[in-house]
Amino acid sequence: MSIAAAGIDERVAAAPAPLVRPKAHGETLIRAVFVTYVAILVVVPIAALMWEGLSGGPSVIWTAIRAPVAVHALMLSLGTSAIAGVLNGVFGTMIAWVLVRYEVPGKRLISALVDLPFAIPTLVAGILLVALYGPQTWVGRTLGAAGISVAYARPGIVLALLFVTLPFVVRAVEPVLLELDAAEEEAAMMLGAGPLRTLVSIVLPPLVPAIAAGSLQVFSRSIAEFGSIAAVSGNIPFRTLTAPVQILGDVEGGDPSSAAALSLVLLAVALVLQPLAIALSRATGARRE
């Protein structure tokens, strides 16, 4: 029967399916709304930043970041961030261990404490440290007498970073610990392994990518940290001045190009670390069934 001679049903069935489903209009609309929002809110300012930073050409960037103050600030940022990464890597893993594998009263309180840095303004975190270690406090004076300065010195910066980045490793390791199967550890035990060997051979290997991913997050976050350091470090150039604070100084000093140049360096570091972080978090899920 030819199409022309067929009834209406056959003709509709024979026609190609419409390319635009009625529902798709709504989808396109909300996509357009969101994309516009992100374009205006995120893309435009970052573009402005990159424009300013690159507008003077590479020589401006080079000069800006070669300035001794800037070099020191960058080194200080990287150094303190690395220390925070290692320390929170170790202690964060231990905290996750206690939260997942120990039966202790008050675990909820510990879990809440771990989340505190997510809830509290970074500036306030810095203020807390000043309230504890400032030169006018009992603690500050006692330590000062022993030759240790915390506030307005580098230890203060590290403590601030440790506060602000405390949750990252914990929350990265916790889900992996929860995925471990007691049966694997029991199997190792049945095969004669002692608790230490079970820990090293069976428990730790799956944790390593998670710990690394968390520590990397700590590192990235620490490089960008501003509020707590602004409060506790005293912002002394060549001593306690970190890169973000240096950027602030440039802005307040009416030198937006240097500020933008240094910003681009930090941005570049962040962008380099990003794929590394993604690769690590994928490795966390890799060998699981």
């Binding site: 709504g26 989808e27 909300i30 969101f34 929002y37 992100v38 893309v43 300012p45 970052i46 402005a48 424009w51 905290i95 261990w97 206690v98 997942v100 120990y102 039966e103 202790v104 909820r108 510990i110 809440a112 404490l113 989340d115 505190l116 840095p117 997510f118 809830a119 509290i120 303004p121 970074t122 500036l123 306030v124 203020i127 807390l128 309230a131 504890l132 406090t137 603690v139 506060f163 405390l166 610990l177 995925e179 471990l180 199967d181 049966a183 550890e185 960008a224 940290e225 501003f226 509020g227 602004a230 409060a231 973000p244 602030l248 802005v251 937006p256 910003s263 941005l267 962008l271 990003q274």
Partner: protein, 270 residues
Amino acid sequence: MNRVLVVAPRRPGQVAVLGVVLTWLAIILVIPLGALTFTVVARPGDTIRTLLTPDALFALGQSITIAAIALVVNGVLGVVGALVLVRQRFRGRRVLDALVDMPLALSPVMTGLAFLLLFGRNGILGPTLEALDVRIAFAFPSLLIATLFVSLPFTVREVALVLEELGTSEEESAATLGASSLQTFFLVTMPNIRNGLSLGATLTVARALGEFGAVLVVGGAIAGATQTATTYIYVAMEERQVAGAYGMAMILATAAAGLLVLLQKRRREV
């Protein structure tokens, strides 16, 4: 299907780990908190007096307003964004995904600088804005925009996580039962993402209230005009107004504690 080996710590090694953890938390978090609380509580009169000044109240009010607006705007758009990123397939989706995470990678001062470069007097849009007699930099709008920027990712991420876990089968069932997109969204999707949304909303508010670097740069911390609670503290510290600074810090810390309680509740429900 898996069991987790949970024990009461009795062996010396286990007790040691517990001890180390508690000591670490004490040194890093608890004792500093205690120090502030102690200092503020020891001089209540001074603190209350400085906090009741118009400047302080204005700064606090401004922070709350900004946080409220950020909550609504980024809350709604966060849900929209999550739907777009998780349920749709289109060219550039990965780019959009990465862009949403950008605010997390930037240091707050860089954010402030970027907006200053846009809206400042010598900025890209500076002359245009002057001609239109619109003040953004060093005025309320810039504070709001900067806060929206930094708090963008939270709701999107939390809701996206939940959407991914849920899968599309419920929405597909609704479609086969004749529901329109809007009906499906409000009757099926919304109830399911409620927990993710609350969690995201809590984090959004926390981030908004806590924003400091960007609003400092782009607002200038002008008393009675562009000060937020955080920049108030900063200025107060610079001017050695310790009572005011500590007092406001205490308020923010208490608000954080409240948000924390909400966070814990939400985490356990998710």
